[in-house]
């Protein structure tokens, strides 16, 4: 599966959104993801994708949507590989 599909399934399982979401759903405006949720997603990315997420990268732009998170993971893979 793609990173995007994995992320969607992780968020759907772990954070139990009340409405269906896709790659462009704003996770922050809906209140679905709070600061603890952000940390859980960061941990999941580090564990399952085998990359280190720098604290400076944990910013709104990289985590607003599942699409933004997948793009970030893609960029990190290129820069470290």
């Amino acid at each position: 599966m793609s990173v995007e599909a994995d992320l969607l399934s992780f968020i759907e399982t772990e954070l139990a959104p009340s409405e269906p979401l896709d790659r462009d759903t704003d996770l922050l405006l809906t209140g679905l993801v709070d600061s603890l949720g952000v940390m859980r997603i960061v941990e999941w990315i580090e564990r399952s994708q085998g990359i280190e997420v720098h604290p400076a990268d944990v910013i709104l732009e990289n985590f607003r949507t599942v699409g933004a998170m997948a793009d970030y993971v893609g960029r990190r893979r290129v820069s470290s590989g």
Partner: protein
């Protein structure tokens, strides 16, 4: 100026000075006054008269600042409602103080639900009309001519901020134009607020810390940077915003400052614009405060103390990192404020002795909305030398005076605790739990300053997930326990009260 209704008047502030922004866009004081004036006219047209309560149910934004000043300008009373709270909880507050008109950005579905449970009849905000309340869209508000300020008296109510009550019924703290303006003036004077200051608004409107920026900001003609809630979840984004917007004043609970220290990549940011960092609402662990102060050497720090009922009453400025092994004092009274520390019989205690802190000040609330008995219980008159019939607000906080005159906070006289800076009365959490199916008895304790843990004696089999789901519908998120632990019986004291000390020990043993 006698009231908060005139805060945006053009003869006070340079109309071209920046007034409020959110990092993406900003408006100057002329635009803020213009927009508040138009919304004020729309509210009056919707039937809002002096003293009427108007709900502000908005995400923190430029619009929420506009809404506060529109309501004050109309001589009405603003009631901030937590945009993230469950519908039933918000509806309870709206019924309590009779909110018939609100400014909201909630979904048409939620507004329809609110209007069936409350007197809500008109909502300013959503563009699409749904079933439920009559909707006045922002585009229609722009068509009104700005209304002049409606005159008010000093003791007319200006805003109602809700806090949790020990029986589970929230109490609406009523501040008047007089107490709100007195607070804004003292805050502006104590921290030397200037027109070139750029204040970060961190607290949501329903948290009383927000009045520092929302009221004292315009009083001083300073710029207020509203930090949107999504940004607050990313400490590295917050510090980036502070740097980019050259914020000079920050005020928040210690919890958020600790987030900046841990995850805000302070070593990669230039935050030298900060001249004041204010914290309050809970105790700042002194070792971590010292660490933060070393990271922000340009800023002066100040411990802000005062229950929402009095706005603020003491300050303690720090120029040097504090010693790691003593609590940071709450300090001493600011101007126009008297403090007395009393024993159980309301007799003043000597310096150095522990007692409850009582306050009298121009910044004290007028009372709790619609709850004369709770208001009565919150105030005391003293016998003896200090007796002149004056009302003292009893904080419920235990303090002692140090030899240098600064007060130190020692704890609560009751079971109110702070969770991430929010006041929670543990009895309120317990009584909400006891109403649920499957729960026979419940005890709540706070773990650190960040979460509540509940012990439950089950009535039959316990479905902890179902209990938590029900609580999420009844309580604000910060009051919902992070964990539920099933126990055969609760530790109780000789008088059958929950023994919180032993409850906490029980949890430590289990972890």
């Amino acid at each position: 100026m006698r009231g908060l209704n005139h805060l945006l008047d053009a003869d006070r502030i340079d109309p071209g000075a920046p007034a409020v922004g959110d990092g993406d866009r900003s408006v100057d004081y002329a635009q803020l006054a213009d927009r508040a004036g138009r919304l004020s006219a729309a509210l009056v047209d919707a039937g809002v008269g002096p003293g009427d309560r108007v709900g502000i149910h908005l995400r923190k934004s430029v619009e929420s600042m506009v809404a506060v000043h529109a309501v004050l300008r109309a001589g009405a009373v603003y009631v901030p409602l937590d945009r993230a709270a469950p519908t039933d909880y918000v509806a309870g507050l709206m019924r309590d103080c009779g909110v018939a008109v609100a400014v909201s950005d909630a979904s048409p579905g939620q507004l329809a639900e609110l209007s069936t449970q409350t007197p809500l009849g008109v909502v300013v905000g959503p563009d699409a009309a749904g079933p439920g309340p009559r909707v006045v869209p922002w585009t229609a508000v722009a068509g009104y001519e700005p209304a002049p300020a409606v005159e008010v008296a000093t003791d007319d109510p200006a805003y109602v901020i809700y806090t949790s009550g020990s029986t589970g019924r929230p109490k609406g703290i009523v501040h008047t134009h007089g107490s709100g303006l007195a607070y804004a003036r003292l805050a502006a004077a104590t921290y030397g607020l200037r027109p070139d200051d750029r204040m970060a608004n961190v607290a949501p409107l329903h948290f009383d810390q927000s009045t520092f920026e929302v009221l004292a900001g315009p009083l001083a003609g300073s710029f207020v940077l509203v930090i949107p809630d999504p940004v607050l979840r990313f400490p590295a984004s917050v510090t980036e915003l502070i740097e980019r917007e050259r914020v000079t004043i920050w005020y928040s609970v210690p919890y958020l400052l600790l987030q900046l220290l841990r995850r805000g990549v302070l070593d990669q940011r230039d935050l030298s614009s900060l001249r004041w960092v204010l914290f309050g609402g809970e105790v700042f662990p002194p070792g971590l405060l010292a660490e933060l102060m070393e990271q922000l050497p340009h800023a002066r720090f100040s411990n802000v103390y005062g229950p929402a009922e009095v706005n603020q009453c003491t300050y303690y400025h720090l120029d040097e990192p504090p010693p790691a092994d003593e609590p940071v004092p709450v300090g001493r009274a600011w101007d126009d404020t008297e403090l007395v520390v009393v024993d159980d019989d309301d007799h003043p205690v000597g310096a150095g002795c522990e007692g409850e802190l009582l306050v009298r000040s121009t910044t004290v609330m007028s009372g709790y909305w619609g709850q004369p008995e709770a208001t009565e219980a919150a105030f005391r008159t003293l016998a003896g030398a200090a007796s002149d019939g004056a009302r003292w607000y009893a904080t419920g906080d235990l303090v002692a005076e140090r030899p240098d005159g600064d007060l130190v906070f020692l704890g609560r006289a009751d079971h109110q605790v702070k969770v991430r800076g929010h006041r929670v009365e543990l009895e309120a959490v317990e009584s909400a739990m006891q109403e649920l199916d499957g729960v026979s008895e419940a005890a709540a304790v706070v773990r650190g300053t960040e979460a509540i843990v509940a012990l439950v004696v089950a009535d039959g089999s316990l479905d902890a997930d179902a209990v938590l789901a029900s609580l999420r519908e009844r309580l604000p998120s910060y009051a919902v326990p992070a964990q539920i632990v099933e126990v055969p019986r609760l530790p109780r004291t000789a008088t059958a009260k929950i023994d919180r000390e032993r409850t906490r020990e029980l949890l430590v043993d289990r972890s």
